[in-house]
Subunit: 189 residues, 2 copies
DNA sequence: GTCTATACCGAGATAGAC
DNA sequence: GTCTATCTCGGTATAGAC
């Protein structure tokens, strides 16, 4: 039943998915969903909160040297999204675009659970970490949008390692490069 | 009335926007909308097709040297999105995420109207142009998502020129850099 | 030409029988 | 505990009076 919810939310977003089709897909009654989860909001939380667990995978990606951080982050992203984590991720992204509170969910997930960890390993000042983190996020979200939502070719069909090679350096530059930071001055590491 | 439609589509996406609120916002009757445009689909097309005209601005951005192409593309993107073109763009992006045919619209707009022009000025083989174009698209879409949809700070509040300085080199590298291309081998210009 | 009224559908949620 | 039946609301679209 949670699986049906994940699929529906991933394909149609929070607003587009209906409790009715989720229940039909799971072979149960729509009223049961309310009885178990209380509301559509809580069903959504239950559907995405469970499998969105990069917290276990992140440490491994951060374990390498600081020069491989960019490639490792991209590789982790593709591992999660080319695996079973895609449905939960798509559900979050599709929902966040048209719904304010799901957008908030995604934003806080990105900032608190991902970017802060990645940037944290570099030991940067708070402002600089946020600046670099938001740049990294812009590239990662863009990859997700182009590859999994818009299915823009040839990026959508490229192998993970090709993308790691192409995009990893961009992330690396955002993380440790000598760049102009949004909201700040040029900073070198 | 088209203005009300654009605003509504930009804020809530195609599925989320309703003819009722559009009509109320424009101070007219919902039935009038149908009478003028026939259907919600055609209203959407009329709302976005009109002001989404980067075709006039693109040549100017492409006029500079090949080494400034990355910065110029980012600068153009921010000019359009920080100006009145934002509503039309947001309408297209918000709608494309949850709706297959609007996604198709955005994809074809991106490929045919933008990427092909940009990459075309470099005189690349078709496959290489598409590969580089999709990489560029991934970064540009990511900026749009982070800055205008998710409002991720500090990127959302950064000045355009700060972003040109930070992100321009990424686009430049995707366009003319010595990189591994998705679906191809290493290529140098 | 414009708008009132409404048809028709599907959404989320709830009450209450079994 | 499970499901039938139903409530209320809001969506698109249409028919027909002024």
């Amino acid at each position: 039943m949670l699986a049906a919810a994940r699929t529906a939310f991933a394909e149609r977003g929070f607003d587009g998915a209906s409790i009715r089709v989720i229940a039909a897909d799971a072979g149960v009654d729509p009223a049961l969903v309310h009885h178990y989860f209380g509301s559509k909001d809580k069903l959504f939380l239950a559907a995405i909160e469970a499998p969105a667990d990069p917290e276990e995978l992140l440490p491994a990606a951060l374990a390498g040297g600081r020069d491989e951080l960019g490639a490792n982050v991209v590789r982790l992203l593709l591992q999660v999204w080319d695996g079973p984590g895609r449905t939960a991720g798509l559900a979050l992204v599709r929902s966040a675009v048209n719904n304010e509170w799901t957008a908030r969910l995604l934003r806080e997930f990105l900032v608190a659970k991902v970017l802060r960890r990645v940037v944290g390993t570099l030991g940067l000042p708070k402002a600089e970490g946020e600046a670099r983190g938001s740049l990294v996020a812009s590239q990662l979200i863009g990859v997700v949008m182009a590859r999994y939502v818009l299915r823009l070719e040839p990026l959508a069909s490229a192998s993970p390692e090709e993308l790691v090679a192409a995009i990893g350096p961009t992330v690396q530059r955002y993380l440790t490069g000598d760049i102009v930071l949004p909201g700040g001055a040029v900073t070198a590491l």
